[in-house]
């Protein structure tokens, strides 16, 4: 190894980041080259000085200030998402209303008064039946007079698997 190569790798050697073979080669050069040995000494001294650089300690109010800042950030994040929900609500309600209208029309047209047949329904009807509570929460179901017809409500409940029917 020559001095140029030693100079290139000396910093990584001091950090213990050289492969073993290269590190051994560099060690051998250092033991025989006073100039590179002096540079090594200077670099070691520099590393020590950098490690002794002073840093400010956290002030007594640091934790409390962070808690306030975090609370503020969480509030802002919550507020940022809230308008989106309000904007989404009419769309969800409109889409749900459309589904219900279609489903109720289908149910009324197919309703012949005989509920002895096995429960069956289209996927859309099934989704509607499974989400009755959600639709009530959104105030959609209550707006539909057709669902006040006990026959229709019973038929919707019949579409659900038995374990999902709420008492």
């Amino acid at each position: 190894m020559n001095c140029r190569k030693c100079n290139k790798h000396l910093s990584a050697w001091l950090d213990g980041e050289l492969p073993r073979a290269l590190a051994d080669e560099l060690s051998a050069h250092l033991s025989s080259c006073p100039a590179c040995a002096e540079r090594r000494r200077q670099l070691e001294a520099l590393n020590g000085a950098v490690a002794r650089l002073e840093s400010p300690q956290a002030s007594p109010g640091f934790d409390a200030a962070f808690s306030r800042r975090l609370l503020q950030a969480r509030r802002q994040a919550a507020e940022a998402t809230a308008p989106r929900r309000r904007w989404l609500f009419p769309l969800v309600a409109a889409a749900a209303s459309a589904c219900i209208v279609v489903a109720v029309v289908v149910l009324l047209r197919g309703h012949d008064g005989s509920r002895q047949s096995a429960p069956a329904g289209t996927p859309g009807e099934l989704v509607l039946a499974q989400n009755l509570d959600l639709l009530r929460d959104y105030g959609v179901v209550a707006q539909l007079d057709a669902l006040e017809d006990p026959e229709v409500v019973m038929q919707l409940h019949d579409l659900l698997p038995s374990e999902e029917v709420t008492p």
Binding site: A12, D15, A45, L46, A51, L53, S55, P56, Q57
Partner: protein
């Protein structure tokens, strides 16, 4: 200051994963472990204690809000210092004029080495000149050196935190040390010991 080396590397990851599952106390533990290293890191960017604290708080807020982006494949400290570096860079660039002018002022306000034993005066002079020499380094060189010597990170970890290669880290550190040796040559020649 070497960062919490007595902790098992995966201990932080375990805490972070628990925090991702909703355990807020785990985040508090991480905050307590790393607040001082993050303040110290931010201080290297600004050289002002009060601004460093503000930046550190903002960095932890970012970590909190971005918790879902953490993956246990990386060490928590690597992830944390990547966020810290990017945040400090953005803030310092955004308010460059402010940090620059106040940093110079802060440097001139440091205590002078006019009194006390010779060794103490020499050490204080070295500290002052080293601070200035560090501040004059390009940001990437300074960050690599700080992560390596002040936070005890390996080249692999530094590369991950700085989103670069191990070879680039090696080069950055070599150049940083070369520049510092040149700038501090007076100390070396005069006292032969840093």
């Amino acid at each position: 200051m070497v960062m919490q080396q007595e902790l098992a590397p995966d201990d932080d990851a375990r805490l972070m994963l628990a925090f991702q599952q909703g355990d807020e106390q785990c985040f508090d533990q991480l905050f307590q472990r790393y607040k001082q290293p993050v303040i110290s890191f931010a201080h290297r960017f600004t050289r002002r204690g009060d601004v460093a604290e503000e930046l550190a708080q903002e960095i932890f807020v970012k970590c909190y809000m971005a918790r879902d982006s953490y993956r246990p494949a990386a060490r928590f400290s690597t992830w944390l210092f990547r966020i810290a570096r990017n945040h400090c860079l953005n803030e310092v660039r955004r308010q460059d004029y402010r940090y620059r002018s106040e940093s110079i002022e802060a440097g001139t306000n440091e205590p002078t080495a006019s009194a006390g034993p010779e060794e103490e005066a020499r050490a204080r002079a070295l500290q002052r000149d080293l601070e200035r020499a560090m501040a004059a380094l390009p940001e990437s060189q300074r960050t690599a050196l700080v992560l390596c010597r002040l936070h005890g990170m390996s080249y692999d970890e530094i590369a991950a935190a700085m989103e670069t290669s191990v070879g680039a880290v090696k080069s950055l550190l070599n150049r940083a040390r070369g520049s510092l040796l040149t700038r501090l040559a007076g100390h070396l020649e005069a006292h032969h010991e840093l």
